[in-house]
Chain length 364, copies 2
């Protein structure tokens, strides 16, 4: 803590020596013009304020280490010169970049947005910034992460748990705190915040069964996590003796249009279908539109369940029954774990399961 200013006389320790430079007086010392023209450095500020560079550094990053009077003087000079500390230089020396990198498969039209927002906001509270990486559903994750590592992030957020062995090795070797998210595994690279897609699938299946639907069709994406949900769903059906479910697969990311096509495909098989499970809400929305067009009443003729609780899901008509995830919590908790580890704390629970909720609405 700083001492009370009143107890410390304003006189400086050493009287300015009668050097060739103008003596550093109290109010009107070196002017801005005396300083190098273009980029103001910490040494420029130091010179004008009549202190050493390290004192300026302290005044800006740990003001409590500096006399109130010194602090005020330095702040004035900073304001006057428009000095902006070069974070690159500081990070290089201190080995703390105050950057956390986040890797997402894609952001438009996905649920990750809410996680990103929560992640970024929580990080900012502690003075960290988010470096955004888009991996295009895994296609270029390796290259991306290699590039990110060179930026010396203090922490890394990854979407999902499927990474190349090479990337895993690199990340573990880097010693940087890592959170994997949106999935669950007993063996994360480091930490993990997510939920079980298998169990989500099971819950979707059970919900349909409980509502009395046994003839289930699937309109489904082929990405890794969707695939796990599918396995869960199939096993829930199997537990009730339902051996198979007609499926219309499609590439990620899922779209409304794909949902329409999906239902058309399913109906074209001629098999009896009373309910359609979708790997995400946009697909469900498409299925609903296609059903309506074909004169099928929902849920009377056809039930639909989605996944993700997208913003629109509660507001379609009928509103979509879906599975809700606390997306913001994932981002927030991930940020907090990373920050804790960056502060050097041990994180006891390496794996956090945020769970999920089946939200029954009008389509089942």
């Amino acid at each position: 803590m700083a001492r009370k200013p009143s107890q410390r006389p304003p006189s400086r320790r050493k009287a300015p020596p009668p050097a060739p430079q103008a003596p550093v007086a109290a109010r009107k010392p070196v002017t801005i013009r005396d300083v190098a023209r273009k980029p103001v450095t910490i040494r420029d500020v130091a010179k004008v304020a009549g202190v050493s560079a390290i004192t300026v550094s302290r005044a800006l990053s740990r003001p409590e280490l500096v006399t109130a009077e010194t602090l005020a003087r330095i702040q004035a000079v900073v304001a006057r010169t428009g000095y902006v500390p070069n974070v690159l230089a500081g990070s290089l020396r201190s080995r703390r970049s105050r950057i956390v990198a986040g890797v997402f498969p894609q952001i438009s039209n996905t649920l990750f947005v809410d996680t990103i927002q929560a992640l970024a906001e929580r990080l900012r509270q502690d003075g960290y910034q988010l470096l955004l990486g888009l991996s295009a559903y895994g296609a270029r994750e390796d290259e991306l992460i290699a590039g990110i590592l060179g930026r010396q992030p203090d922490g890394i957020y990854l979407t999902g748990i499927s990474h190349s062995p090479e990337t895993r090795r690199r990340l573990m070797a880097s010693q940087i705190p890592v959170v994997e998210a949106w999935d669950l595994t007993p063996t994360p690279i480091d930490m993990l915040v997510g939920f079980s897609h298998t169990r989500v699938g099971e819950a979707m299946g059970r919900h349909l069964l409980e509502r009395g639907y046994r003839d289930v069709g699937l309109v489904w994406s082929t990405d890794v996590r969707a695939e796990m949900r599918r396995q869960g769903l199939l096993s829930a059906l199997a537990a009730e003796g339902i051996a198979e479910a007609p499926t219309s697969p499609g590439p990620a990311p899922a779209t409304f249009q794909r949902g329409r096509e999906g239902l058309a495909e399913l109906l074209a098989t001629g098999k009896r279908i009373r309910a359609v499970a979708c790997s995400s809400d946009p697909l469900a929305q498409g299925v609903i539109a296609e059903a309506r067009e074909r004169g099928l009443a929902i849920p009377r003729d056809l039930a639909v369940i989605g996944f993700g609780d997208f913003d629109f899901a509660a507001y379609t008509s009928p509103a979509i029954t879906t599975v809700a995830i606390d997306k913001a919590a994932i981002g927030r908790v991930a940020a907090e774990r990373l920050l804790a580890r960056i502060r050097g704390e041990e994180v006891a629970e390496k794996v956090v399961d945020v769970g999920f909720t089946v939200v029954r609405r009008g389509t089942t």
Copy 2:
């Protein structure tokens, strides 16, 4: 260009002097174990490969400056040691950070997501990464940008044109290429990619008038850009002699719930309302839901127009009439302008107007 390898004998220029160190032989030089344990630096790689640090630097960033044989040797060492260049150090010296910062008011539930995605992807193509800043609708933009400037970004993307004089000054002084987006002004800080909100508002008004609606109510957000759209809308109405329009204002970001309340408020005024213009699609969706609940047929009893062409807008029933913006184009073009300026090219057209389209659907 490198000479053909065949023309250059594999022997190195200077025979390794009989120094105390082991002579650097062709295949089996210094082993990994000889190198410092923890962070592999460029000098470690250089030593193992038997070249100088700068040659390694060249091999990695401008391979054409190095013999094919040298390149191969260095690449092998890099792979073997798992060397990751410290970008911070390189950036500090070269004054190129290969980072572009983007500032957005918020991302969840907004249109900016598509722009972010396009921006990030285009930047990545040129080896740049996106540093994401959330300004919470302007509340902390100043502080945020001050922090960003210290990271020495090579370019800056800003949402909107309303910035504090302090921020404007700082940005102009920094000499960093800046693109402002999602708005239009003849006097940008540097470059601009956007569209005229005033004209959007006018177009919305004209559309309603053309469809025969003269009793117009507004459910509107209070952020800067929405306000400009409102002015445009009002002036279009005024041009047809309509002096006033009942308005239910609300804070940004706009939500479905706010839309419902908004319509309730408008109807409570008792004034005659045949059409509701909304400052964004989520509001429109809420208005539609509230209208349905009150037994109002759309568009027969009440017409609705939104803004933004959100993902869901085409898929509600009835589908929402709205104003579409090419959000991805904004991001892409912004990235390209920034990259061009970073490369040192002059950008002739400082201001790009991407325009907009009124998309008539089922609600008008």
